[in-house]
């Protein structure tokens, strides 16, 4: 056809391939193979596969993926760049809104965020956004495009950040880039927070987190690990040391299950269990694991809960060689909060899901021997439209259990007490109170962000919060000196 008659826009000619190309995920390792180790289960995309999958994007005028991404990642744009093979540009763009794209690519519940809102999802299966994101960033690491950075200007002001999880790290990076002196305090011996100790290696290999934290350290961020605020320094001391302080501790307190038998042995908190497993993976010696307390090997394991943490627990247990692994959840498959993709992975690996089942009691003498459970059914919907589960009368039955893991969610710890800072205002749920726009707590120059403000949530939200708070801290610091001068004058 004559060139003058081609109306189609050649730019998008490379894109919009969803009609002709089917969705394809990176290859997944066989279940039988992957349960033998703690390595990630997805292989990397082959280069042309990634660009081919990226080319399925419809390049929407209103990109719902972008709208539903907490970070507002410019997904259509880096998909288009990937389709063109311009990975360095794609990485530059991806990293401009996200401090750790390769981590989000691995652990974000995309089926509830970007991919779940992809406009072609309904009829053509979504673009595999997460896998492409991971591919872009992994390639960037591999090619050495990601290097420690030096800020264009060094500023004198220093910021202390309590907590080296995703919120703290994101804030640290943003502030350091703007030239501030950044000091990060964490009670654990490694940085990363839940990224390091919460999430199992088969979802997020630990070197992925380590190279991020190392890069930050190499870029001039000072880490104080094994540092307990309250013991090693009080909040007040940190406030005098730094021009601004950020509390980004996350939420760690497990929600208890108040049923008979809860005091029995071998009833574990999910986080203790996962941390031990991750430590083992990192090569640490963990006494409670060596003594078998936190090792599922050869045991009948029952995990209670239906969220992402529960998924992590069941799949860890499988890998530790449990005799059987069951997941108890009071609603059905359709109504569980965790990622559907994870359920599939877990089932492939041999986990048995016991839907519509609630725990009634733990049975046993000193150690748990069984979980007494009852059938549930979904009753009338609540105001949000979600059906409320209710027990089916006389449906009690016992599920054999040598180890029970409670994965029912997390609450904040008592920070005023922990930090020996009773002056810090918290809400009745224990989260730190901050002003809506300034994100500042009731203490001048003390900010808070992430789960400790929001309550337990996703890593991607933590990153977003970290970035947001970094911006207001920066603004605070840049306007602060004048105010102080005014204050000093007033005092004088």
């Amino acid at each position: 056809m004559d060139e003058g008659l081609v109306v189609a826009n050649n730019v998008t000619e490379k894109m919009l391939k969803f009609i002709s190309i089917e969705q394809g995920m990176p290859e997944k390792r066989y279940a039988a193979e992957r349960v033998g180790d703690f390595n990630e289960i997805y292989n990397e995309f082959m280069a042309d596969k990634a660009s081919e999958q990226a080319s399925r994007c419809s390049q929407c005028g209103i990109p719902f993926c972008h709208i539903h991404c907490p970070l507002g990642n410019n997904i259509p744009d880096w998909l288009s760049l990937t389709a063109e093979g311009r990975l360095e540009d794609a990485y530059a763009l991806a990293s401009s809104t996200n401090n750790m794209p390769e981590i989000c690519g691995r652990i974000c519940p995309q089926d509830r965020l970007c991919e779940g809102n992809c406009v072609i999802e309904k009829d053509f299966d979504a673009v595999t956004i997460g896998s492409v994101e991971k591919y872009i960033a992994d390639t960037a690491w591999e090619k050495g495009w990601i290097k420690p950075f030096t800020p264009t200007i060094e500023r004198a002001e220093s910021v202390g950040i309590i907590g080296a999880g995703p919120a703290g790290l994101a804030a640290a990076e943003q502030l350091r880039m703007a030239g501030f002196q950044v000091h990060v305090y964490d009670r654990y011996d490694r940085a990363g927070g839940l990224l390091t100790y919460g999430i199992p290696g088969f979802k997020l290999e630990k070197n992925v987190v380590e190279r991020r934290t190392k890069r930050l350290a190499d870029s001039g961020i000072v880490f104080y690990l094994g540092f307990e605020v309250g013991d090693d320094a009080t909040l007040d001391e940190l406030r005098t040391k730094h021009d601004a302080l950020l509390i980004a501790t996350g939420v760690y307190k497990s929600r208890p299950l108040k049923i008979p038998g809860s005091q029995l042995g071998n009833i574990l908190k999910a986080l203790d269990y996962l941390t031990a497993s991750n430590r083992k993976g990192l090569g640490d010696t963990v006494a409670t694991f060596e003594d078998g307390t936190l090792d599922a090997n050869g045991k009948n394991v029952v995990v209670i809960g239906g969220g992402d943490t529960a998924m992590d627990c069941v799949r860890t247990a499988i890998r530790q060689g449990a005799k059987s692994v069951k997941c108890l959840y009071r609603r059905d498959r359709k109504n569980m909060p965790g990622s559907v993709r994870e359920v599939v992975n877990a089932e492939e690996e041999g986990v048995e899901f016991v839907w519509l089942t609630g725990p009634d009691a733990f049975v046993g003498t000193d150690k748990v021997e069984a979980v007494r459970a009852y059938q549930m059914r979904l009753g009338a919907p609540d105001p949000s439209g979600r059906q409320i589960p209710e027990p089916v009368p006389n449906s009690n039955h016992d599920i054999p259990c040598d180890m029970a893991i409670l994965a029912l969610g997390f609450d904040p710890e008592d920070l005023p007490v922990m930090f020996k800072a009773p002056e810090l205002d918290v809400t009745r749920w224990g989260t730190v109170k901050v002003a809506q726009k300034s994100l500042m707590t009731n203490l001048d120059g003390v900010f808070a962000a992430g789960d400790i403000v929001r309550g337990a949530s996703l890593v991607v939200w933590a990153i977003r919060d970290g970035r947001d708070v970094a911006e207001v801290i920066q603004k605070y610091l840049l306007t602060k000196p004048q105010e102080e001068i005014i204050k000093q004058e007033a005092v004088a």
């Binding site: 189609a8 390049q59 929407c60 990109p63 703007a178």
Partner: protein
């Protein structure tokens, strides 16, 4: 309107109203347009006679249908006649006063004086007399011209001047030439004196010793009734120029009637602003050379406030008075398209190359009749956009006019019948007594001077040192990034705009309109170009197709001083001419280097140190620097913002350029220098266009190029070299510039340059009047201080903080942190939920959500004045009533899927509302309700420029026909449906071939002027005697006067589309920068129509981004009665604004033809109905708040609105009061009160239908015979409507009814004629023969008594068979321009045709037994043509971009051809055709067969027997 020409004070009411409206409202008289009928008669031997005068008077009586009549039925828009002064007639008057006239010709001045203010009248006489006597002439006296005022209407009467003639003796005994020249100076002095004395109402129609002009505001046929002088048998002349005006303006102006002093003009000068600006510079040198001491008297050459025709006349006159001949002046002002014409003789080419350097063409459609006293000429513009037919008679007359048959000449008297093709001229030299036809005249001019010598030293870019060198790269990636940010670039700009330009050498395309805020409402940084809206043609002149008709387009840019326009023979040594004003960085340096010392650099940056008014100071400084440089003889200024640093910020180069340009014009220095502009912001074609429009000679987008270079270095363009990449960028920009020019009908960049061919939207009025004088700026907005603040802020973004990547953008597609989009993701889902669940509460959430957004549209700054006492909801008009006012606007079946298209129609029919079919036909099975009762027939059928699927049947199955003049997404542009979207269904409906591309031309080829539109409306009211006719316009400055013209053309509904709506795929810069919001256009139309007493005759409708009940109510208050809801109805059916409509990949099946995707469609009629009901319910709630019960009671009630926000703090002002002005006083409603459609007069068909009773009663065969004249138009159309409704479109056998006619048929002979009707004309026919032919047969042959050779003469006019779908046409003679344009099924044989033959044809077969004009077969994608090429030059004329041509090589096709020629001979009795048959073997070898490339695979038989095997 003007100082000099203000009318008598008697019509002060009207005048005050107009002035008031001009001052406060949206109406601007300078936007008036006029078109008309024009012509001339001349005695070839130069001998005066009564015959000439009589012929002209007769002609004026036969062109009434090309003029307009005011509401009073008597006041015309003006008519007049220009004749030789019958010296004896006036001598007798002198003698009657007791004096004896002296030797030599006396001069007569035809003078309009103020009539009612007698003191002023006397003062005017004194002025006239004293100026004459000061020059040493004697006055015989005044003569009151006898007039009969009973024939003029009320408006004509109230504004009537006192009309007198002053007779002047040539007592100095000068020769005619000198006498005329002095009379000219006297007249100019009188005009000046009148201005000084504030003697309003004095106007001199003519002051000459040769000729006199009688004109006024009567209907053309009343000319001699009003001026009995003209009936006097002593009134003899050797020439007559006559004119009938059709103006969009209805404030009657006696002086604006034509002819003017030298010419009568039917057309429009699109480049008028640029021409006037350039004239300001030209006149300085020109006047001093030609008029010496009197030079001050003749300046300004163009009086303030002159219309385009009057301005052209003024310049024409001054050049003639300075000694150039009329043919030469015409050639300079309105030259032929020459640069790409391959058949032009070298001598002509040299002449044009020379005059190209003299003056910028006055570009636009034009039919001109003119005289300088020695020559009488007629000619047309470079594209032949106005018809001109001529004939010569055995007794020595040359008769030229807009139509054939205006002067009735017996057949046997006719010597020759011809027409004027593009740029052609015909005339008589009265002194020599000789006829000059085109070639003879041009030869004479071309040989009059050694033009070839004068141009031989012109230098081209290729001749300069370094022009083939490498493109430089000067910025590091980091530096580049910072500069890009400082200039406001985003990643989107680079990825979505720049990249496609490099990859495809074309502009990027988008769809679904624009839902971002207009620049002045945005909180983002928007560069200055965003405040400029491109102007475009609608109705009064046609846009050009710059792709298919590139031969008339030119970007040639000339450097070096313009020679004095009056000075012939100036040497051209060393003058540089480049092919385009778009310079790459290399070109820029090569050029600067070439100019050496003559070049002067001006740094266009200012300090960021916070000096108050820094921008103002900087602009002042660069102006002064420019002036000094020019005065020092630096004739090439290079303005650059490249010197930007952290501490120096770039002046927006649009501002810098405009400042220097206007400053230099003011100082009279502009023509002494070129302005070369280097801009960092400049990236897309729009920015280039604004810079050139602001006066830039060349433009260099240096930063865009650096960005390209950086990408090229990184290998993003593969192996492409930087030089290649820049060539492609240049190509894309150049094509874009041509498109921007052509959409407003301008074909030459030199005429576009400096013309401010934009409308400001959101620029402060003070800023505009200082830097862009004459440009319209309706609502004011950002001024210098705001621009300074915004520029500094953006500069700071780049230099104050460290940056990693460019901002993402969000202007074209939503991105977080980017521009606001009214269609927001959450709201779309909310609306879809609401209509899906029939949940009004959710709809209200959606509506509230929209209101909570930052302002996007002008209406967001308005709010209601709520009543103290709301009306009760129960008392308010019902949802059912309100919904009837809703319309789903035209979206064609080619664009949206058949499912979506039908769903809309069914939904709208169910609620008694209306859907518009859109362009592209509709399946006839939808014309009757389905078995389940659903009615999928669109009540409104659209007719667009492509005329796809427009048949008699289609037009008969509707209650309204909408003529889509323009569409919001790309006003002034054509479109195309790519082959992959042309499915079997679509091909069937459009009468084309599946898989073959279809092109819609930019203009309707039967609407080049307002009188053409009137004709089309007339045709449509014939083919459907019940349907109302709607004309769809796009909001822009001047739309009010256009609407007034449309109303006078008997339209019933006028639709004003906003810029933002529209779903069509278009270039991004068209979506973003053409047209204005409907709020402005609607208010203007309502005001102007009300003012002119036309509002009650038409219903007003509006569309473009209507989303809520609030939008509807605001539109009603601004004057609309009906409302289009387009995009929102698509959203209700599932559209999620993917904005990839042009890719055929719509994932929800709304906007696609793909079978699989269409299955995804989830829209239902119920969802659409819910949407309409919700909106209506919300309207009711607002009506309640307003305290009103009936919807009608808010229409035009602008007192119910007030402005609640004046925009951001940095703006000078944002003033929406012009929208809220009430013409008829407060609290009036302007509504349409007619109950029937506006009637049009009957044509011959009324008689035919009576006479053919037997056909309709009993189905009998019949033959009817009549004598006809050109005033009988659309013959056979109404008759075809009757056949269609009685028997169906194919119900009768071919030739069932034969109508034989003798004479000249009026326009649109046989329009939409259906099978069963055969029209046979012995004589000739005008334009639009067989328009939309739907199966009928038309035969046109010369009368048996005629003596000329038919195949050498013209027998049918322009634009024949436009959009024909079926039927046959045989014409024994030649056809005019655009023969068989967009024919999609008719078979035809003619004996020659003009330019652009078979353009855009998609079906049917055309046989042309003679020469064809230029650009044959352009954009032809279907059908077939055979051309008999006796002269062997066909290959020079064909445009083979989409077609192949070869000799007839297959017996099958030979037989097809021969059968058609035989049929032609049989029908017309053509002797020539018979001769071809007789010499078949010889002639066959001279035939060419033309076939579209895309069609070759679809032919029933292969083209070439031998190659059959290969093809298969």
């Amino acid at each position: 309107m003007t100082d000099i020409f203000n009318d008598t004070p008697t019509h002060s009411d009207m005048h005050d109203l107009e002035q008031n409206l001009k001052a406060t409202g949206l109406y601007d008289p300078s936007e008036d347009h006029s078109s008309c009928g024009v012509g001339m008669v001349a005695a070839i031997n130069g001998v005066s006679s009564r015959k000439v005068v009589r012929a002209a008077i007769e002609a004026l009586k036969a062109i009434w249908h090309r003029g307009a009549v005011d509401a009073d039925g008597k006041t015309g828009d003006g008519a007049g006649i220009h004749l030789e002064i019958p010296q004896e007639f006036f001598n007798e008057h002198v003698r009657a006063t007791g004096h004896e006239p002296i030797e030599g010709k006396m001069a007569v001045g035809m003078v309009f004086l103020p009539r009612t203010n007698l003191a002023l009248q006397e003062q005017c006489r004194e002025i006239v007399e004293s100026e004459i006597m000061n020059y040493g002439y004697a006055i015989y006296g005044w003569r009151q011209v006898p007039v009969d005022i009973s024939v003029i209407g009320e408006k004509g009467e109230t504004t009537r001047p006192e009309i007198e003639q002053i007779m002047i003796a040539n007592n100095k005994g000068l020769d005619d030439e000198t006498f005329e020249r002095e009379l000219y100076i006297i007249r100019r002095k009188i005009e000046k004196a009148a201005v000084e004395a504030q003697a309003h109402g004095l106007y001199i129609c003519s002051l000459s010793c040769r000729s006199v002009i009688y004109k006024g505001l009567f209907l053309a046929e009343h000319l001699t009734n009003f001026y009995p002088d003209l009936d006097d048998k002593r009134f003899i002349s050797n020439f007559a120029i006559y004119h009938q005006r059709y103006s969009t303006n209805t404030f009657p102006q006696w002086w604006l009637a034509q002819p003017f002093r030298m010419l009568a003009h039917n057309g429009e000068i699109n480049t008028i602003r640029g021409n006037i600006n350039w004239m300001k510079s030209h006149q300085i040198r020109m006047a001093s050379i030609a008029f010496g001491d009197h030079s001050a008297d003749i300046k300004p050459v163009i009086p303030n406030g002159a219309s385009d025709s009057a301005a052209l006349d003024a310049v024409f006159e001054v050049m003639v008075r300075a000694g150039r001949s009329a043919p030469m002046v015409k050639t300079i002002l309105v030259p032929e398209a020459w640069s790409k014409n391959t058949t032009m003789p070298d001598s002509h080419r040299a002449m044009y190359a020379y005059i190209n350097s003299v003056m910028e063409p006055w570009d636009g459609p034009a039919a001109l009749a003119m005289t300088d006293g020695r020559w009488v000429l007629a000619s047309v513009d470079r594209s032949g956009l106005r018809p001109m037919r001529y004939l010569t008679t055995h007794d020595g007359l040359l008769i030229v006019g807009s139509e054939t048959g205006m002067v009735q000449v017996p057949d046997e008297e006719i010597l020759e019948k011809g027409r004027l093709g593009p740029g052609q001229m015909v005339g008589v030299n009265l002194e020599e007594g000789q006829l000059y036809k085109e070639k003879k005249l041009k030869d004479r001019m071309a040989n009059s001077q050694p033009f070839q010598d004068w141009i031989k030293d012109i230098v081209a870019m290729e001749d300069l040192d370094g022009n083939d060198g490498k493109e430089p790269v000067e910025l590091s990636p980091d530096e580049l990034k910072v500069r890009l940010i400082a200039a406001g670039y985003t990643l989107e700009d680079l990825e979505l705009l720049l990249k496609p330009m490099i990859l495809t050498a074309k502009e990027a395309i988008g769809s679904m309109g624009d839902d971002t805020p207009i620049a002045v409402l945005s909180s983002q940084y928007r560069n200055l170009a965003h405040y400029f809206r491109q102007k475009f043609s609608q109705v009064t002149n046609p846009p050009i197709d710059s792709l298919r008709e590139f031969r008339v387009m030119s970007l040639k840019t000339r450097f070096g001083n313009f020679v004095n326009v009056l000075d012939e023979g100036h040497t051209q040594k060393g003058a540089l001419v480049v092919e385009s004003p778009v310079l790459t960085n290399r070109d820029y340096y090569v050029l600067k280097n070439h100019f050496g010392d003559q070049a002067h650099d001006i740094d266009c940056c200012f300090d960021t140190d916070g000096t108050p008014d820094a921008l103002r100071l900087a602009l002042d400084n660069i102006c002064i620097e420019a002036e000094e440089a020019v005065r020092e003889g630096r004739s090439h200024l290079f303005l650059s913002d490249k010197h930007v640093t952290a501490k120096r910020v770039a002046i927006p180069m649009i501002l810098a350029t405009a400042a220097v340009n206007t400053y230099l014009i003011k100082k009279g220095l502009r023509t002494f220098t070129s302005l070369n502009v280097r801009s960092s912001e400049c990236l897309d074609t729009h920015y280039f266009a604004v810079l050139i429009g602001a006066g830039a000679t060349t433009v260099n987008a240096y930063l865009a190029q650096e960005a390209v270079a950086e990408r090229q270095t990184r290998g993003l363009f593969g192996d492409m070299s930087l030089e290649d990449a820049m060539l492609r960028y240049k190509e894309a920009i150049e094509q874009g510039l041509l498109k921007i020019m052509s959409k407003m009908g301008i074909s030459v960049i030199s005429s576009y340059r400096g013309g401010y061919n934009f409308e400001a939207l959101g620029l402060s009025r003070a800023l505009v009047s200082e830097f862009f004088p004459g440009m319209s700026s309706k609502i004011s907005g950002i001024g210098l201080s705001g621009i300074e603040a915004k520029t500094l802020e953006q500069h700071g973004n780049a230099y104050k903080l460290p940056v990693t990547t460019l901002p993402i953008g969000g202007f074209y597609r939503y991105r977080r942190g980017g521009e606001v989009h009214a269609y927001d993701g959450t709201l779309i889902h909310m609306l879809q939920k609401a209509v899906g669940e029939d949940n009004y509460a959710k709809y209200l959430n959606y509506s509230q959500g929209l209101q909570n957004m930052p302002p996007v549209n002008l209406r967001d700054l308005l709010d209601f004045r709520r009543a103290k006492k709301p009306s009760k909801l129960d008392d308010i008009e019902s949802i059912t009533q309100i919904r009837k006012r809703f319309i789903t606007p035209g979206m064609s079946l080619g664009a949206i899927s058949p499912e979506a298209h039908e769903t809309l129609a069914i939904a709208m029919n169910r609620i008694g509302a209306k859907s518009v079919s859109g362009e592209g036909g509709e399946d006839s099975k939808r014309f009757k309700p389905y078995a389940n009762g659903d009615n999928a027939n669109s009540p409104i059928k659209q007719i667009a420029s492509g005329r796809f699927g427009v048949t008699a049947e289609y037009l008969n199955n509707c209650s309204e026909i909408e003529i889509k003049i323009a569409q919001g997404a790309k006003p002034g542009e054509g479109g195309q449906l790519p082959g992959f979207k042309v499915t079997t269904l679509i091909a069937k409906l459009r009468h084309s071939t599946p898989g073959v591309t279809l092109i819609s031309p930019p203009p309707h080829h039967d609407i080049y002027s307002i009188e053409d539109l009137a004709q089309l409306i007339y045709d449509l009211k014939q083919i459907n005697p019940r349907a109302e006719v709607c004309v769809k316009l796009v909001s822009s400055a001047g739309i009010g006067t256009i609407a007034a013209g449309v109303a006078k053309a008997h339209a019933d509904v006028i639709l004003i589309s906003g810029n933002s709506g529209g779903t069509a795929a278009s270039p991004q810069t068209s979506i973003k920068y053409a047209g204005t919001p409907w709020e402005i256009g609607l208010a203007e139309v309502n005001q102007v129509l009300t003012l002119n007493g036309l509002r009650h005759k038409v219903k007003l409708r509006t569309d473009g981004g209507m989303r809520t009940g609030r939008d509807i109510v605001i539109a009603a208050i601004l004057g609309a009665e009906e409302f289009g809801i387009g995009t929102a109805s698509l959203v209700a059916m599932g559209c999620i604004m993917v904005r990839q409509c042009h890719s055929n990949t719509c994932p929800v099946g709304v906007c696609t033809q793909d079978e699989d995707l269409r299955k995804k469609f989830s829209g239902t009629a119920e969802k659409v109905i819910n949407l309409m009901s919700f909106i209506a319910e919300e309207v009711r709630e607002i009506l309640s708040e307003l305290g009103v019960e009936k919807f009608e009671d808010i229409i035009g009630r602008t007192d119910l609105l007030h402005q609640v926000s004046r925009g951001a703090a940095h703006l000078d002002d944002l003033d929406l009061n012009p929208l809220l002005l009430q013409v008829g006083g407060r609290k009036t409603k302007s509504i349409c009160t007619r109950t029937e459609r506006n009637p049009v007069p009957d044509t011959l068909d009324a008689q035919m239908i009576l006479d053919a009773k037997a056909v309709f009663d009993r189905g009998e065969k019949m033959q009817l015979t009549y004598s006809i004249q050109n005033t009988q138009r659309a013959i056979g159309t109404r008759f075809s409507s009757e056949i269609t409704s009685r028997f169906g479109m194919e119900g009768l056998n071919p030739g069932h009814v034969t109508v034989r006619m003798r004479g000249s048929a009026g326009q649109s002979l046989g329009a939409f004629a259906v099978q069963g009707l055969k029209l046979v004309v012995a004589g000739d026919a005008n334009d639009y023969v067989g328009k939309g032919l739907s199966g009928g047969i038309i035969v046109v042959r010369p009368s048996n008594r005629s003596t000329f050779t038919p195949h050498e003469n013209t027998i049918i006019g322009n634009t024949v068979l436009y959009g024909a779908t079926k039927g046959e046409l045989y014409a024994s003679g030649q056809a005019g321009e655009r023969f068989a344009v967009r024919n999609s099924g008719a078979l035809t044989v003619v004996e020659g045709c003009g330019a652009n033959g078979c353009e855009y044809m998609t079906g049917g077969t055309a046989v042309i037994l003679g020469p064809v004009g230029d650009n044959f077969g352009a954009g032809m994608t279907g059908g077939m043509a055979f051309i008999l090429d006796d002269s062997g030059d066909f290959e020079e004329h064909i445009n083979d971009e989409t077609v192949i041509y070869q000799r007839v090589k297959s017996p099958y096709w030979e037989e097809v051809l021969k059968t058609m020629v035989k049929k032609h001979v049989q029908e017309t009795g053509s002797r020539y055709g018979q001769m071809v048959i007789s010499n078949w073997q010889t002639k066959l070898g001279r035939f060419w067969q033309v076939v579209p490339k895309e069609m070759i695979a679809h032919l029933v038989e292969p083209l070439d027997e031998v190659t059959t095997q290969d093809v298969a």
